[in-house]
Symmetry: C2
Subunit: 373 residues, 2 copies
């Protein structure tokens, strides 16, 4: 048995079980067809089942079809550097923004991270908020259609809405959904109300009635499992949600990678230089190959558990090329070192561009911070 909630992902994740447990729906061929019709294409993360489940997606797309565009809402808890495991979802979100031409509200939950990280000071979290904003901007979101909400900076517009949410959620409910106890601090008990607000705040601020679409890692679902009903009781529409699987951790397995524990020093950070990337992948990336070259040539490797092969899903958009790589690896024609080298090239190519943009981002923060219109 595994635990999957925003504050704990433990053990091997069984996505089939999560679908049942969370009451979410698997994306069907028909769902994908509808997305493709409207978007003109299907993002690799949809084709490859990385985004694998949803809530109310059809309604959201139907509204879009009728001319009522949704807005996107996603976020980041700024308690440390961004690693590769984070950006998959956000690159997908950027694709959504581009193909659907929609607004994105990006929440930085600095209050959450301050409240949940016993050892982090308020100032440290503020520093990470700044650093993380640079990375998000560098991913290329449209500054005209992207609005950053920082919970402490935007508390003036968020807290009055958050208490409307909070009034309709009991302490029992958050204990059940997040595994909290009476030892939890009172800010952490309240926090989920702040995470709910951006799902309807844009409509309040702009006097609109658009659907909200939230692409997120599946571990974040419990926030909205509680709050979707509350949002409806407050007179807004329930947000639609798209759920992503976790990127395989550097050291393999089926959990979630994290800079918070275990992954220290092993994850690829967006600020890593090419040499560091090469060293980390070669040293830590779990291999699905055999112990010796001879055995590998004979028996072949397993791309389904090989981290380099798995991560290529995020960096090789061409399905045929990816398939070819998997096939060759399975047959033993490609060695583990060779697929690692291919991945290292792809990551370093991505990071070179990212790091260039990250520098430019320092002057763009003001354009992204939401200011009342």
């Amino acid at each position: 048995m595994s635990t999957v909630n925003p504050y704990e992902v433990e053990g091997a994740v069984d996505y089939e079980r999560l679908v049942l447990e969370f009451g979410i729906k698997k994306l069907t061929e028909e769902d994908l067809k509808q997305i493709k019709e409207l978007a003109g294409e299907l993002h690799p993360q949809l084709r490859r089942g990385i985004f694998f489940a949803h809530r109310d997606l059809k309604w959201c797309l139907d509204e879009y079809k009728k001319g009522n565009k949704f807005f996107l809402y996603t976020g980041r808890g700024p308690s440390g550097p961004i690693h590769l495991g984070h950006v998959g979802t956000w690159r997908f979100v950027k694709w959504l923004q581009d193909v659907f031409d929609v607004d994105l509200w990006f929440q930085f939950t600095d209050d959450e991270k301050f409240l949940f990280k016993q050892d982090k000071s308020y100032e440290e979290i503020q520093d990470w908020t700044y650093e993380n904003m640079l990375d998000v901007i560098a991913l290329g979101f449209d500054p005209k259609k992207t609005h950053f909400l920082i919970d402490t900076k935007h508390a003036g517009i968020m807290y009055p809405e958050a208490i409307k949410v909070a009034k309709k959620i009991t302490t029992s409910q958050v204990k059940g959904a997040f595994g909290f106890t009476d030892s939890n601090n009172i800010g952490s008990i309240f926090y989920t109300a702040m995470q709910t607000v951006p799902a309807f705040l844009p409509n309040v601020l702009r006097n609109e009635n658009r659907p909200c679409l939230i692409p997120l890692g599946v571990d974040q679902d419990p926030h909205f499992r509680i709050s979707r009903d509350v949002i409806e009781k407050l007179g807004h529409k329930k947000p639609a949600i798209l759920h992503a699987k976790f990127m395989t951790p550097m050291t393999g397995g089926e959990g979630k990678q994290s800079t918070d524990k275990g992954g220290e020093g092993k994850d690829i950070l967006l600020t890593d230089d090419p040499k560091t990337v090469k060293k980390k992948i070669n040293k830590y990336a779990f291999s699905g190959g055999q112990d010796t070259v001879e055995e590998h040539r004979k028996l072949g490797g397993n791309p389904d558990i090989d981290v380099a092969c798995q991560w290529m899903q995020y960096f090789e958009d061409d399905d045929e090329k990816l398939q070819e790589m998997y096939d060759k690896y399975r047959k033993g024609e490609l060695l583990s070192g060779e697929v690692k080298a291919m991945l290292i090239d792809k990551i370093n190519e991505f990071l070179a561009e990212h790091q260039k943009r990250r520098k430019e981002a320092e002057n763009q923060i003001e354009d992204f911070l939401y200011k009342p219109e």
Copy 2:
């Protein structure tokens, strides 16, 4: 046994027991002497033991003596009309502001009232906030030295400080102090953090290090019993507190009057006209007299339980006159109807002036609302 906390005052209040249970100190002759020395006089509510206990008062006054003026902090939960039971403390606070020439930060806890009153809408609470502000202004506070903080309106400056407080308070602690359970909504669990903030916010905003003095009804003490240690851990000084007894309820006894339950339609509201005041006092004010005039003349009345006599403590500043009234009532020389008539005159005199000022207050709200300097 009685229960006394901000959310429940049940049964006859035993102030001696509260002093022990809360760990507060009774005001001594020496304390009063020090106040008189600095203020030049003693307010009737101090002479008469209505303000009866404190925390760290001596330190606060010593700092004042050294030239480090304290600021005052008090507040109002705006869920209904103001009645006479509320204004005693605030008139005392105005006296403190005048004689010590100090700033007052007045908090309107609209979030609290919204979160704790299941049947009140956000809009209703906003309306009461406006109405209550008019009454507070009409009491004559100095607009240059009085700063209103409305929790939802000032959340932009308050929430970032509140989470620093909240991180250091567990759910167990608020359950213990306030009698909360897992059925409490998550906003109500968090709320005490917001009530803590004004005890140090002025120093944060102004980069000062002044003592804070909080005059309050003793039922509010549990908030600060929890938070004084937290405030100190955050690097600020613990606030000093002055505790008031409750004004005797209209219908007698030793509880707390309240527009919330039981008192509906009986309490004197600040908007009542002279006829209504007369009617309410004559009809509802608990009498300490005898059943017939003859018996009263013979046996006398008991001013200690007679509501009109008790309330005169708040309206007759002259100790000799008050004593004379009590003596005559005790001897049967004054009838219950006569002391009621004296009280009615005093209240209507106060309300006539108050209601005139309340009209003018409509144009003064902007002067009182705190704006970042």
